[in-house]
Amino acid sequence: MSSSFRIFDIAGSAMSAQSVRLSTVASNLANADAVGSDPNSVFKAHLPMFKSAPEIAGQQTPGVRVTGVVENQAAPEKRFEPGNPMADGEGYVYAPNVNVVEQMVDMISASRSYQNSVEVMNTAKELALKTLSLGS
């Protein structure tokens, strides 16, 4: 028989996964304007990969884990800025392939999911405490 504290594990795994997602969004936004002269070395947007945590034998309630952070392989944005000191021989600079609007949406989604998990944990905690004080 599994304990009611399994809910804490599940909600906790979701909170850490969402916080990784928030960190990557923060990193992407921070580097959104870091232009460079070489299209290969310019910053690429990072994406966390989520997966249900492996199911332990007999337990069918998986948490979530981050299997890795991958780079978005889309081509960087090419801008003609001959006055920029980072410009290459033809006057172009390369901006990271970070879509700021996409990142903001991702941030809101991650924040909401995090809040959901906090609520789940709060409810589970209240019920566990009530169960402990049963009959008093």
Partner: protein, 140 residues
């Protein structure tokens, strides 16, 4: 402990089933952003019906909620043991999503609140029974 079963009735087992349901729903909410994750739920009335069927087959005793003996639920994987997951089944999605995830956060949240409320109701009943027993024991 067996002697107290008639006093507590099905609420003791109901607590266990509701807790398992909350676990499943918590997993759904945790995997709301996981691609290809399919939401699941425990049907409480199905568990009750199974328990009643077993009771009738056994012919006797008070009504209890026992976990089903075989994995008749659609979602029960091969690793499912009878004690861990009664009547687990996949949720039918209201809207399909492009990444194959079938979690609807609003549905899961309301289901979680529902399970928590039922859990609390069973707790209240149990608490009342214990208070009654204490009154009978102390005689005041």
């Amino acid at each position: 402990m067996a002697d107290l079963d008639p006093v507590f009735g099905l609420h003791a087992q109901s607590l266990a089933v509701q807790r398992q349901r909350m676990e499943v729903l918590a997993a759904n909410i945790a995997n709301a952003d996981t691609p290809h994750y399919q939401a699941r739920d425990i049907d409480f009335s199905k568990v009750l019906a199974q328990a009643q069927g077993q009771q009738q087959a056994a012919a006797g005793g008070s009504l209890g909620l026992a976990a089903p003996s075989s994995g008749q639920a659609a979602g029960a994987a091969a690793s499912a043991t009878p004690e861990t997951m009664p009547a687990l089944s996949y949720r039918v999605p209201l809207q399909t999503s492009i990444d194959g995830n079938t979690v609807d956060e609003q549905v899961e949240q309301s289901a979680y609140a529902d399970a928590a409320m039922h859990y609390q109701a069973s707790l209240s009943f149990l608490s009342g029974q214990i208070k009654g027993l204490m009154t009978a024991i102390t005689g005041q």
